[in-house]
Protein backbone atom coordinates (compact mmCIF):
# COMPACT_ATOMS: atom_id res chain seq x y z
CA UNK A 1 0.00 0.00 0.00
CA UNK A 2 1.35 3.46 -0.82
CA UNK A 3 0.87 6.74 1.02
CA UNK A 4 -2.07 7.68 -1.18
CA UNK A 5 -3.93 4.50 -0.21
CA UNK A 6 -3.25 5.17 3.44
CA UNK A 7 -4.78 8.63 3.18
CA UNK A 8 -7.91 7.30 1.57
CA UNK A 9 -8.67 4.43 3.82
CA UNK A 10 -10.75 4.37 6.98
CA UNK A 11 -9.38 2.18 9.73
CA UNK A 12 -11.76 -0.57 10.82
CA UNK A 13 -9.73 -1.44 13.89
CA UNK A 14 -9.98 2.06 15.34
CA UNK A 15 -13.77 1.91 15.25
CA UNK A 16 -15.88 0.66 18.15
CA UNK A 17 -18.26 -2.25 17.68
CA UNK A 18 -21.29 -0.09 16.87
CA UNK A 19 -19.47 1.87 14.17
CA UNK A 20 -18.00 -1.30 12.74
CA UNK A 21 -21.48 -2.80 12.39
CA UNK A 22 -22.80 0.41 10.83
CA UNK A 23 -19.94 0.55 8.33
CA UNK A 24 -20.32 -3.07 7.31
CA UNK A 25 -24.02 -2.86 6.53
CA UNK A 26 -25.37 -1.10 3.42
CA UNK A 27 -25.69 2.67 3.84
CA UNK A 28 -28.69 3.67 5.91
CA UNK A 29 -29.81 0.11 6.62
CA UNK A 30 -28.36 -0.21 10.16
CA UNK A 31 -30.92 -0.93 12.87
CA UNK A 32 -29.75 -1.98 16.32
CA UNK A 33 -31.66 -4.59 18.34
CA UNK A 34 -31.68 -4.36 22.14
CA UNK A 35 -29.87 -1.03 21.93
CA UNK A 36 -28.08 0.50 24.94
CA UNK A 37 -31.16 2.50 25.95
CA UNK A 38 -32.86 -0.75 26.89
CA UNK A 39 -30.11 -1.29 29.44
CA UNK A 40 -30.07 -5.08 29.29
CA UNK A 41 -26.93 -5.31 31.37
CA UNK A 42 -25.06 -8.20 32.92
CA UNK A 43 -26.89 -9.39 36.05
CA UNK A 44 -23.59 -10.66 37.50
CA UNK A 45 -21.00 -7.87 37.27
CA UNK A 46 -22.39 -5.24 39.65
CA UNK A 47 -22.41 -7.62 42.60
CA UNK A 48 -18.68 -8.14 41.98
CA UNK A 49 -18.00 -4.41 42.05
CA UNK A 50 -17.54 -4.16 38.27
CA UNK A 51 -19.35 -1.48 36.30
CA UNK A 52 -21.71 -3.01 33.73
CA UNK A 53 -22.13 -1.64 30.23
CA UNK A 54 -25.52 -0.91 28.69
CA UNK A 55 -24.96 -3.19 25.69
CA UNK A 56 -22.87 -5.79 27.58
CA UNK A 57 -20.24 -5.44 24.89
CA UNK A 58 -22.17 -6.82 21.93
CA UNK A 59 -23.97 -4.91 19.19
CA UNK A 60 -26.72 -6.75 17.29
CA UNK A 61 -27.53 -4.88 14.09
CA UNK A 62 -29.95 -5.80 11.36
CA UNK A 63 -29.86 -4.37 7.88
CA UNK A 64 -28.80 -5.36 4.42
CA UNK A 65 -25.42 -6.36 3.10
CA UNK A 66 -24.94 -6.23 -0.64
CA UNK A 67 -28.72 -5.83 -0.84
CA UNK A 68 -29.47 -9.05 1.09
CA UNK A 69 -30.98 -9.30 4.58
CA UNK A 70 -28.22 -9.53 7.15
CA UNK A 71 -27.46 -9.40 10.84
CA UNK A 72 -24.10 -8.20 12.14
CA UNK A 73 -22.90 -9.31 15.56
CA UNK A 74 -20.06 -7.06 16.63
CA UNK A 75 -18.16 -7.65 19.84
CA UNK A 76 -16.73 -4.62 21.67
CA UNK A 77 -13.16 -5.44 22.65
CA UNK A 78 -12.91 -2.37 24.86
CA UNK A 79 -15.45 -3.72 27.36
CA UNK A 80 -14.08 -6.51 29.57
CA UNK A 81 -11.79 -7.68 26.78
CA UNK A 82 -14.72 -8.52 24.54
CA UNK A 83 -15.54 -11.37 26.88
CA UNK A 84 -18.72 -13.40 26.66
CA UNK A 85 -21.03 -13.13 29.63
CA UNK A 86 -24.59 -14.39 29.89
CA UNK A 87 -26.16 -11.41 28.09
CA UNK A 88 -23.51 -10.84 25.42
CA UNK A 89 -23.40 -14.52 24.48
CA UNK A 90 -27.21 -14.74 24.42
CA UNK A 91 -27.36 -11.73 22.08
CA UNK A 92 -25.11 -13.50 19.59
CA UNK A 93 -26.64 -16.97 19.95
CA UNK A 94 -30.21 -15.64 19.94
CA UNK A 95 -29.65 -13.56 16.80
CA UNK A 96 -28.04 -16.49 14.97
CA UNK A 97 -30.98 -18.71 16.00
CA UNK A 98 -33.44 -16.19 14.55
CA UNK A 99 -31.41 -15.91 11.34
CA UNK A 100 -31.63 -19.71 10.93
CA UNK A 101 -35.37 -19.54 11.59
CA UNK A 102 -35.67 -16.85 8.89
CA UNK A 103 -34.00 -19.17 6.42
CA UNK A 104 -36.37 -22.00 7.29
CA UNK A 105 -39.20 -19.62 6.44
CA UNK A 106 -37.60 -18.63 3.14
CA UNK A 107 -35.95 -15.37 4.21
CA UNK A 108 -32.23 -15.66 3.33
CA UNK A 109 -30.84 -13.76 6.35
CA UNK A 110 -27.09 -14.09 6.61
CA UNK A 111 -24.84 -13.41 9.59
CA UNK A 112 -21.54 -11.65 9.97
CA UNK A 113 -19.68 -11.96 13.29
CA UNK A 114 -16.99 -9.44 14.23
CA UNK A 115 -14.74 -11.23 16.72
CA UNK A 116 -12.83 -9.09 19.21
CA UNK A 117 -12.84 -11.29 22.24
CA UNK A 118 -10.87 -13.07 24.91
CA UNK A 119 -13.54 -15.78 25.16
CA UNK A 120 -15.50 -16.59 28.32
CA UNK A 121 -15.99 -13.74 30.80
CA UNK A 122 -14.56 -15.33 33.91
CA UNK A 123 -16.83 -13.29 36.20
CA UNK A 124 -19.76 -15.19 34.65
CA UNK A 125 -17.73 -18.29 33.92
CA UNK A 126 -20.18 -21.13 33.44
CA UNK A 127 -22.90 -18.99 31.91
CA UNK A 128 -20.38 -17.61 29.42
CA UNK A 129 -19.26 -21.14 28.56
CA UNK A 130 -22.86 -22.33 28.16
CA UNK A 131 -23.63 -19.31 25.98
CA UNK A 132 -20.62 -20.03 23.78
CA UNK A 133 -21.77 -23.64 23.32
CA UNK A 134 -25.09 -22.19 22.08
CA UNK A 135 -23.23 -19.85 19.71
CA UNK A 136 -21.42 -22.89 18.30
CA UNK A 137 -24.70 -24.76 17.89
CA UNK A 138 -26.31 -21.79 16.15
CA UNK A 139 -23.42 -21.29 13.71
CA UNK A 140 -23.52 -24.95 12.68
CA UNK A 141 -27.29 -24.73 12.19
CA UNK A 142 -27.34 -21.45 10.22
CA UNK A 143 -24.37 -22.50 8.09
CA UNK A 144 -26.59 -25.15 6.50
CA UNK A 145 -28.56 -22.38 4.77
CA UNK A 146 -26.19 -19.44 4.32
CA UNK A 147 -22.50 -18.84 4.82
CA UNK A 148 -21.64 -17.53 8.28
CA UNK A 149 -18.76 -15.09 7.88
CA UNK A 150 -16.35 -14.18 10.66
CA UNK A 151 -14.08 -11.17 10.79
CA UNK A 152 -11.14 -10.98 13.18
CA UNK A 153 -9.55 -7.59 12.79
CA UNK A 154 -8.40 -5.92 15.98
CA UNK A 155 -5.59 -6.39 18.45
CA UNK A 156 -7.67 -8.01 21.18
CA UNK A 157 -7.79 -10.95 18.79
CA UNK A 158 -10.07 -13.95 19.05
CA UNK A 159 -9.52 -16.40 21.89
CA UNK A 160 -11.00 -19.14 23.98
CA UNK A 161 -14.35 -20.60 23.08
CA UNK A 162 -14.85 -17.84 20.54
CA UNK A 163 -11.79 -18.98 18.58
CA UNK A 164 -13.70 -22.24 18.23
CA UNK A 165 -16.66 -20.21 16.95
CA UNK A 166 -14.33 -18.62 14.40
CA UNK A 167 -13.23 -22.12 13.43
CA UNK A 168 -16.87 -23.02 12.74
CA UNK A 169 -17.51 -20.12 10.38
CA UNK A 170 -17.92 -20.79 6.66
CA UNK A 171 -15.39 -18.07 5.90
CA UNK A 172 -12.96 -16.19 8.09
CA UNK A 173 -11.52 -12.78 7.19
CA UNK A 174 -8.42 -11.56 9.08
CA UNK A 175 -6.03 -8.62 9.24
CA UNK A 176 -2.30 -8.69 10.04
CA UNK A 177 -3.01 -6.94 13.32
CA UNK A 178 -5.17 -9.66 14.83
CA UNK A 179 -4.43 -13.00 16.46
CA UNK A 180 -6.44 -16.17 16.71
CA UNK A 181 -5.72 -18.81 19.30
CA UNK A 182 -7.48 -21.10 21.74
CA UNK A 183 -5.45 -20.28 24.81
CA UNK A 184 -4.20 -16.80 25.50
CA UNK A 185 -0.41 -16.52 25.94
CA UNK A 186 -0.72 -15.57 29.63
CA UNK A 187 -2.85 -18.63 30.33
CA UNK A 188 -0.43 -20.97 28.56
CA UNK A 189 2.38 -19.43 30.57
CA UNK A 190 0.38 -19.97 33.77
CA UNK A 191 -0.60 -23.55 32.93
CA UNK A 192 2.55 -24.81 31.19
CA UNK A 193 5.37 -22.46 32.19
CA UNK A 194 7.22 -19.57 30.59
CA UNK A 195 9.47 -21.93 28.59
CA UNK A 196 6.38 -23.24 26.80
CA UNK A 197 5.09 -19.80 25.87
CA UNK A 198 6.49 -16.43 26.92
CA UNK A 199 3.48 -14.11 27.04
CA UNK A 200 5.73 -11.04 26.64
CA UNK A 201 7.31 -12.30 23.41
CA UNK A 202 5.05 -10.48 20.98
CA UNK A 203 6.97 -11.37 17.78
CA UNK A 204 6.67 -15.07 18.69
CA UNK A 205 2.94 -14.74 19.39
CA UNK A 206 2.19 -12.97 16.12
CA UNK A 207 4.48 -15.21 14.06
CA UNK A 208 2.58 -18.33 15.17
CA UNK A 209 -0.96 -17.06 15.74
CA UNK A 210 -1.22 -13.73 13.93
CA UNK A 211 -3.72 -13.10 11.14
CA UNK A 212 -1.16 -13.32 8.35
CA UNK A 213 0.12 -16.69 9.58
CA UNK A 214 -3.44 -17.99 9.97
CA UNK A 215 -4.11 -16.98 6.38
CA UNK A 216 -0.82 -18.44 5.14
CA UNK A 217 -1.61 -21.76 6.82
CA UNK A 218 -5.14 -22.00 5.48
CA UNK A 219 -6.83 -21.38 8.85
CA UNK A 220 -8.33 -18.15 7.49
CA UNK A 221 -9.75 -17.47 4.03
CA UNK A 222 -8.88 -13.85 3.32
CA UNK A 223 -6.18 -11.46 4.51
CA UNK A 224 -7.22 -7.81 4.31
CA UNK A 225 -5.80 -4.42 5.17
CA UNK A 226 -7.21 -2.50 8.10
CA UNK A 227 -9.63 -0.71 5.82
CA UNK A 228 -13.41 -0.49 6.15
CA UNK A 229 -14.08 -0.67 2.39
CA UNK A 230 -11.81 -3.63 1.84
CA UNK A 231 -13.26 -5.59 4.75
CA UNK A 232 -16.82 -4.85 3.70
CA UNK A 233 -16.24 -5.84 0.08
CA UNK A 234 -14.48 -9.04 1.16
CA UNK A 235 -17.48 -9.91 3.35
CA UNK A 236 -19.85 -9.33 0.43
CA UNK A 237 -17.56 -11.43 -1.73
CA UNK A 238 -17.74 -14.32 0.76
CA UNK A 239 -21.54 -14.24 0.75
CA UNK A 240 -21.59 -14.13 -3.07
CA UNK A 241 -19.48 -17.29 -3.17
CA UNK A 242 -22.21 -19.05 -1.22
CA UNK A 243 -21.71 -22.04 1.05
CA UNK A 244 -18.33 -23.71 0.60
CA UNK A 245 -18.34 -27.41 -0.42
CA UNK A 246 -16.99 -28.19 3.05
CA UNK A 247 -16.23 -25.93 5.99
CA UNK A 248 -12.79 -26.17 7.56
CA UNK A 249 -14.23 -27.77 10.69
CA UNK A 250 -15.70 -30.54 8.52
CA UNK A 251 -12.36 -31.50 6.88
CA UNK A 252 -11.58 -34.13 9.50
CA UNK A 253 -9.56 -36.63 7.51
CA UNK A 254 -7.45 -33.96 5.81
CA UNK A 255 -6.46 -32.43 9.14
CA UNK A 256 -5.62 -35.85 10.57
CA UNK A 257 -3.55 -36.53 7.48
CA UNK A 258 -1.62 -33.28 7.93
CA UNK A 259 -1.11 -33.90 11.65
CA UNK A 260 0.56 -37.20 10.83
CA UNK A 261 3.21 -35.36 8.82
CA UNK A 262 5.16 -33.77 11.64
CA UNK A 263 7.06 -34.71 14.76
CA UNK A 264 5.34 -33.32 17.85
CA UNK A 265 8.59 -33.56 19.80
CA UNK A 266 10.39 -31.10 17.51
CA UNK A 267 10.37 -27.34 18.03
CA UNK A 268 7.56 -25.72 16.05
CA UNK A 269 8.23 -22.92 13.59
CA UNK A 270 5.91 -20.74 11.56
CA UNK A 271 7.54 -22.02 8.36
CA UNK A 272 6.97 -25.64 9.31
CA UNK A 273 3.26 -25.02 9.90
CA UNK A 274 3.00 -23.11 6.63
CA UNK A 275 4.70 -25.94 4.76
CA UNK A 276 2.45 -28.66 6.16
CA UNK A 277 -0.86 -26.79 6.31
CA UNK A 278 -0.18 -24.71 3.21
CA UNK A 279 -1.27 -27.66 1.07
CA UNK A 280 -4.86 -27.11 2.14
CA UNK A 281 -7.56 -29.19 3.78
CA UNK A 282 -10.29 -29.73 1.28
CA UNK A 283 -11.23 -33.32 0.72
Amino acid sequence: MDAQDLLHRTSFIELGARSRARQLLDDGSFRELIDPFERIVSPWLARQGIVAQADDGVVVAKGTLGGQPAVVLAIEGAFQGGSMGEVSAAKIAGALELAAQDNRKGVPTRALIVFETGGVRLQEANLGLAGIAEIHAAIVDLRRYQPVVGIAAGTVGCYGGMSIAAGLCSYLIVTRETRIGLNGPAVIEQEAGVAEFDSRDRPLIWSLTGGEQRYRTGLADALVEDDVDQIRSEAINCFRKGRPPACRSECVSRFLHRLAQFDPAAQVTAEQVARIYGEGFEA
Binding site: A130, I164, G167, N183, I188, S249, V252
Partner: protein, 271 residues
Protein backbone atom coordinates in the same frame (compact mmCIF):
# COMPACT_ATOMS: atom_id res chain seq x y z
CA UNK B 1 -7.50 -35.34 44.38
CA UNK B 2 -4.95 -33.02 42.83
CA UNK B 3 -6.35 -31.16 39.84
CA UNK B 4 -3.44 -32.40 37.74
CA UNK B 5 -3.57 -36.08 38.67
CA UNK B 6 -4.72 -38.27 35.77
CA UNK B 7 -8.22 -39.58 36.28
CA UNK B 8 -9.40 -43.09 35.40
CA UNK B 9 -13.09 -42.24 35.46
CA UNK B 10 -13.55 -41.83 31.72
CA UNK B 11 -12.05 -45.26 31.06
CA UNK B 12 -13.92 -46.84 33.98
CA UNK B 13 -17.33 -45.62 32.85
CA UNK B 14 -16.74 -46.38 29.18
CA UNK B 15 -15.86 -49.98 30.07
CA UNK B 16 -18.80 -50.30 32.49
CA UNK B 17 -21.44 -48.87 30.17
CA UNK B 18 -20.29 -50.90 27.18
CA UNK B 19 -19.97 -54.05 29.35
CA UNK B 20 -16.43 -54.58 28.20
CA UNK B 21 -17.15 -54.27 24.47
CA UNK B 22 -13.91 -54.17 22.46
CA UNK B 23 -12.49 -50.73 21.72
CA UNK B 24 -12.68 -49.66 18.10
CA UNK B 25 -9.26 -49.97 16.50
CA UNK B 26 -7.62 -47.13 14.61
CA UNK B 27 -7.94 -44.57 17.40
CA UNK B 28 -5.03 -43.35 19.53
CA UNK B 29 -4.79 -44.60 23.15
CA UNK B 30 -6.14 -41.26 24.39
CA UNK B 31 -9.44 -41.61 22.54
CA UNK B 32 -11.53 -44.64 23.42
CA UNK B 33 -14.43 -45.55 21.20
CA UNK B 34 -16.73 -48.53 21.71
CA UNK B 35 -20.04 -49.62 20.23
CA UNK B 36 -22.60 -51.21 22.52
CA UNK B 37 -26.31 -51.24 23.23
CA UNK B 38 -28.11 -48.50 25.08
CA UNK B 39 -31.18 -50.43 26.19
CA UNK B 40 -32.30 -52.03 22.88
CA UNK B 41 -30.63 -49.41 20.72
CA UNK B 42 -27.23 -49.36 19.08
CA UNK B 43 -24.99 -46.64 20.44
CA UNK B 44 -21.44 -45.33 20.19
CA UNK B 45 -19.57 -44.37 23.36
CA UNK B 46 -16.60 -42.01 23.24
CA UNK B 47 -14.17 -41.04 26.02
CA UNK B 48 -10.90 -39.12 26.19
CA UNK B 49 -8.51 -40.73 28.66
CA UNK B 50 -5.01 -39.97 29.99
CA UNK B 51 -2.12 -41.43 27.98
CA UNK B 52 1.27 -40.92 29.68
CA UNK B 53 2.99 -41.92 26.41
CA UNK B 54 1.13 -39.42 24.25
CA UNK B 55 3.65 -38.02 21.72
CA UNK B 56 2.08 -34.62 22.41
CA UNK B 57 3.57 -33.74 25.79
CA UNK B 58 0.76 -31.31 26.66
CA UNK B 59 -1.98 -33.88 26.15
CA UNK B 60 -0.87 -36.68 28.50
CA UNK B 61 -3.30 -36.15 31.39
CA UNK B 62 -6.66 -36.44 29.71
CA UNK B 63 -6.54 -33.10 27.92
CA UNK B 64 -8.21 -32.67 24.56
CA UNK B 65 -5.36 -31.88 22.19
CA UNK B 66 -5.05 -31.57 18.43
CA UNK B 67 -5.21 -35.28 17.71
CA UNK B 68 -7.85 -36.04 20.34
CA UNK B 69 -10.20 -33.40 18.97
CA UNK B 70 -9.91 -34.47 15.34
CA UNK B 71 -10.24 -38.13 16.34
CA UNK B 72 -13.40 -37.40 18.33
CA UNK B 73 -14.71 -35.71 15.19
CA UNK B 74 -13.89 -38.83 13.18
CA UNK B 75 -15.54 -41.16 15.70
CA UNK B 76 -18.74 -39.09 15.53
CA UNK B 77 -18.77 -38.46 11.79
CA UNK B 78 -18.21 -42.15 11.02
CA UNK B 79 -21.52 -42.87 12.75
CA UNK B 80 -23.31 -40.00 11.00
CA UNK B 81 -22.03 -41.14 7.59
CA UNK B 82 -22.86 -44.81 8.20
CA UNK B 83 -26.41 -43.98 9.36
CA UNK B 84 -27.15 -41.42 6.67
CA UNK B 85 -29.81 -43.58 5.04
CA UNK B 86 -31.09 -45.25 8.19
CA UNK B 87 -34.38 -44.35 9.80
CA UNK B 88 -33.13 -44.87 13.34
CA UNK B 89 -29.98 -42.87 13.91
CA UNK B 90 -27.60 -44.37 16.45
CA UNK B 91 -27.18 -42.72 19.83
CA UNK B 92 -23.84 -41.16 20.67
CA UNK B 93 -22.73 -40.95 24.30
CA UNK B 94 -19.87 -38.62 25.15
CA UNK B 95 -18.37 -39.75 28.45
CA UNK B 96 -16.87 -36.56 29.80
CA UNK B 97 -13.83 -36.50 32.05
CA UNK B 98 -11.55 -33.96 30.41
CA UNK B 99 -8.93 -32.05 32.38
CA UNK B 100 -8.72 -29.18 29.91
CA UNK B 101 -7.74 -28.41 26.37
CA UNK B 102 -4.00 -28.91 25.75
CA UNK B 103 -2.04 -25.78 26.61
CA UNK B 104 1.03 -25.54 24.38
CA UNK B 105 2.91 -23.57 21.78
CA UNK B 106 2.71 -26.46 19.36
CA UNK B 107 -1.02 -26.73 19.81
CA UNK B 108 -1.61 -23.04 19.16
CA UNK B 109 0.63 -23.04 16.09
CA UNK B 110 -1.24 -25.95 14.52
CA UNK B 111 -4.62 -24.46 15.29
CA UNK B 112 -6.03 -26.33 18.28
CA UNK B 113 -8.99 -23.92 18.07
CA UNK B 114 -9.73 -25.40 14.65
CA UNK B 115 -9.40 -28.95 15.98
CA UNK B 116 -11.89 -28.24 18.78
CA UNK B 117 -14.19 -26.68 16.20
CA UNK B 118 -13.92 -29.95 14.27
CA UNK B 119 -15.10 -31.94 17.29
CA UNK B 120 -17.87 -29.51 18.31
CA UNK B 121 -19.04 -29.39 14.69
CA UNK B 122 -19.23 -33.20 14.48
CA UNK B 123 -21.39 -33.47 17.60
CA UNK B 124 -23.62 -30.58 16.51
CA UNK B 125 -24.00 -32.09 13.04
CA UNK B 126 -24.91 -35.47 14.56
CA UNK B 127 -27.55 -33.83 16.74
CA UNK B 128 -29.01 -31.91 13.78
CA UNK B 129 -29.09 -35.14 11.74
CA UNK B 130 -31.30 -36.69 14.40
CA UNK B 131 -28.77 -38.73 16.37
CA UNK B 132 -29.61 -38.65 20.08
CA UNK B 133 -26.42 -37.20 21.61
CA UNK B 134 -25.97 -37.48 25.37
CA UNK B 135 -23.17 -35.96 27.45
CA UNK B 136 -22.42 -37.92 30.62
CA UNK B 137 -20.16 -35.92 32.94
CA UNK B 138 -18.33 -38.33 35.26
CA UNK B 139 -15.35 -36.14 36.16
CA UNK B 140 -13.97 -32.86 34.94
CA UNK B 141 -15.65 -30.95 32.14
CA UNK B 142 -13.32 -28.06 31.61
CA UNK B 143 -13.58 -25.19 29.24
CA UNK B 144 -12.60 -25.77 25.60
CA UNK B 145 -12.29 -29.49 26.22
CA UNK B 146 -15.95 -29.67 27.24
CA UNK B 147 -17.00 -27.43 24.34
CA UNK B 148 -15.35 -30.01 22.04
CA UNK B 149 -16.52 -33.12 23.86
CA UNK B 150 -20.02 -33.08 25.30
CA UNK B 151 -21.40 -29.55 25.30
CA UNK B 152 -23.17 -30.00 21.95
CA UNK B 153 -25.25 -32.90 23.33
CA UNK B 154 -29.05 -32.84 23.31
CA UNK B 155 -29.02 -33.72 27.02
CA UNK B 156 -26.40 -33.45 29.77
CA UNK B 157 -26.25 -35.80 32.76
CA UNK B 158 -23.73 -35.39 35.58
CA UNK B 159 -22.70 -37.33 38.65
CA UNK B 160 -23.09 -35.46 41.90
CA UNK B 161 -19.62 -35.79 43.39
CA UNK B 162 -16.80 -33.50 44.56
CA UNK B 163 -14.60 -34.58 41.65
CA UNK B 164 -17.20 -33.61 39.09
CA UNK B 165 -16.69 -30.05 37.98
CA UNK B 166 -17.67 -27.88 35.03
CA UNK B 167 -15.72 -24.70 34.52
CA UNK B 168 -14.13 -22.25 32.09
CA UNK B 169 -10.68 -22.11 33.63
CA UNK B 170 -8.61 -23.51 36.50
CA UNK B 171 -8.79 -21.45 39.70
CA UNK B 172 -5.14 -20.40 39.41
CA UNK B 173 -5.48 -19.10 35.86
CA UNK B 174 -8.87 -17.52 36.48
CA UNK B 175 -7.39 -15.62 39.42
CA UNK B 176 -4.50 -14.38 37.27
CA UNK B 177 -6.68 -13.28 34.39
CA UNK B 178 -9.18 -11.47 36.62
CA UNK B 179 -6.37 -10.00 38.75
CA UNK B 180 -7.60 -11.53 41.96
CA UNK B 181 -6.01 -13.87 44.49
CA UNK B 182 -7.22 -17.47 44.59
CA UNK B 183 -8.74 -16.70 48.02
CA UNK B 184 -10.68 -13.72 46.63
CA UNK B 185 -11.88 -15.85 43.74
CA UNK B 186 -13.05 -18.59 46.10
CA UNK B 187 -14.94 -16.06 48.22
CA UNK B 188 -16.81 -14.86 45.13
CA UNK B 189 -17.68 -18.37 43.95
CA UNK B 190 -19.65 -18.88 47.18
CA UNK B 191 -22.21 -16.24 46.18
CA UNK B 192 -22.03 -16.18 42.36
CA UNK B 193 -23.35 -19.53 41.08
CA UNK B 194 -21.87 -19.39 37.54
CA UNK B 195 -18.40 -18.85 39.00
CA UNK B 196 -18.54 -21.84 41.32
CA UNK B 197 -16.63 -25.05 40.66
CA UNK B 198 -19.01 -27.54 42.30
CA UNK B 199 -21.57 -29.47 40.28
CA UNK B 200 -24.54 -28.51 42.50
CA UNK B 201 -23.99 -24.85 41.69
CA UNK B 202 -23.72 -25.74 38.02
CA UNK B 203 -26.95 -27.74 38.25
CA UNK B 204 -28.69 -24.66 39.66
CA UNK B 205 -28.15 -22.91 36.30
CA UNK B 206 -30.54 -25.37 34.66
CA UNK B 207 -28.03 -26.76 32.18
CA UNK B 208 -28.26 -30.38 33.33
CA UNK B 209 -31.03 -32.74 32.38
CA UNK B 210 -30.26 -34.92 35.41
CA UNK B 211 -27.86 -35.03 38.35
CA UNK B 212 -27.17 -38.49 39.81
CA UNK B 213 -25.89 -39.32 43.29
CA UNK B 214 -24.00 -42.61 43.26
CA UNK B 215 -22.37 -44.76 45.93
CA UNK B 216 -19.00 -45.21 44.20
CA UNK B 217 -18.41 -43.06 41.13
CA UNK B 218 -14.78 -44.27 40.85
CA UNK B 219 -15.67 -47.97 40.89
CA UNK B 220 -19.38 -48.22 40.16
CA UNK B 221 -21.46 -50.80 41.99
CA UNK B 222 -24.12 -52.73 40.00
CA UNK B 223 -26.69 -50.32 41.45
CA UNK B 224 -24.63 -47.30 40.33
CA UNK B 225 -24.32 -48.71 36.83
CA UNK B 226 -28.04 -49.45 36.74
CA UNK B 227 -28.87 -45.91 37.79
CA UNK B 228 -26.67 -44.35 35.10
CA UNK B 229 -28.04 -46.71 32.46
CA UNK B 230 -31.59 -45.83 33.42
CA UNK B 231 -30.74 -42.14 33.18
CA UNK B 232 -29.20 -42.63 29.72
CA UNK B 233 -32.27 -44.55 28.57
CA UNK B 234 -34.49 -41.81 29.97
CA UNK B 235 -32.51 -39.16 28.14
CA UNK B 236 -32.64 -41.20 24.94
CA UNK B 237 -36.43 -41.48 25.14
CA UNK B 238 -36.77 -37.81 26.04
CA UNK B 239 -34.75 -36.81 22.97
CA UNK B 240 -36.75 -39.17 20.74
CA UNK B 241 -40.00 -37.57 21.90
CA UNK B 242 -38.72 -34.03 21.43
CA UNK B 243 -39.37 -32.50 18.03
CA UNK B 244 -36.54 -30.02 18.56
CA UNK B 245 -32.96 -30.91 17.79
CA UNK B 246 -31.68 -27.68 19.33
CA UNK B 247 -30.20 -26.92 22.75
CA UNK B 248 -33.28 -24.91 23.74
CA UNK B 249 -34.10 -27.31 26.58
CA UNK B 250 -31.24 -25.79 28.56
CA UNK B 251 -33.06 -22.46 28.78
CA UNK B 252 -36.34 -23.61 30.30
CA UNK B 253 -35.19 -24.76 33.73
CA UNK B 254 -35.15 -21.31 35.29
CA UNK B 255 -31.48 -20.71 36.05
CA UNK B 256 -30.81 -18.35 33.16
CA UNK B 257 -33.36 -15.57 33.27
CA UNK B 258 -31.22 -13.09 31.31
CA UNK B 259 -30.53 -15.63 28.54
CA UNK B 260 -34.28 -16.08 28.11
CA UNK B 261 -35.05 -12.37 28.30
CA UNK B 262 -32.47 -11.47 25.66
CA UNK B 263 -33.97 -14.02 23.27
CA UNK B 264 -37.51 -12.73 23.88
CA UNK B 265 -36.41 -9.17 23.18
CA UNK B 266 -34.55 -10.16 20.03
CA UNK B 267 -37.57 -12.02 18.74
CA UNK B 268 -39.86 -9.06 19.44
CA UNK B 269 -37.56 -6.64 17.62
CA UNK B 270 -36.38 -8.92 14.82
CA UNK B 271 -38.64 -7.79 12.00
Amino acid sequence: MNAREPSARGATWLAALTHGAPLRSGFPPSVRVADAKLDRHAARYIAVVPDPANPYARARNGEVGLVEAWQIARAVRDVVDADRKRGEKRAIVAIVDVTSQAYGRFEEAYGIHQALAGAADAYAAARLEGHPVIGLIVGRAMSGAFLAHGYQANRLIALSDPQVTVHAMSKESAARVTQRTVAELEALTASIAPMAYDIESYASLGLLWKLLKLARPDAPTPADLYEVEQALIGAYEDIRHDASRSLAGRLSAGGRAASVRVREKLRAQWN
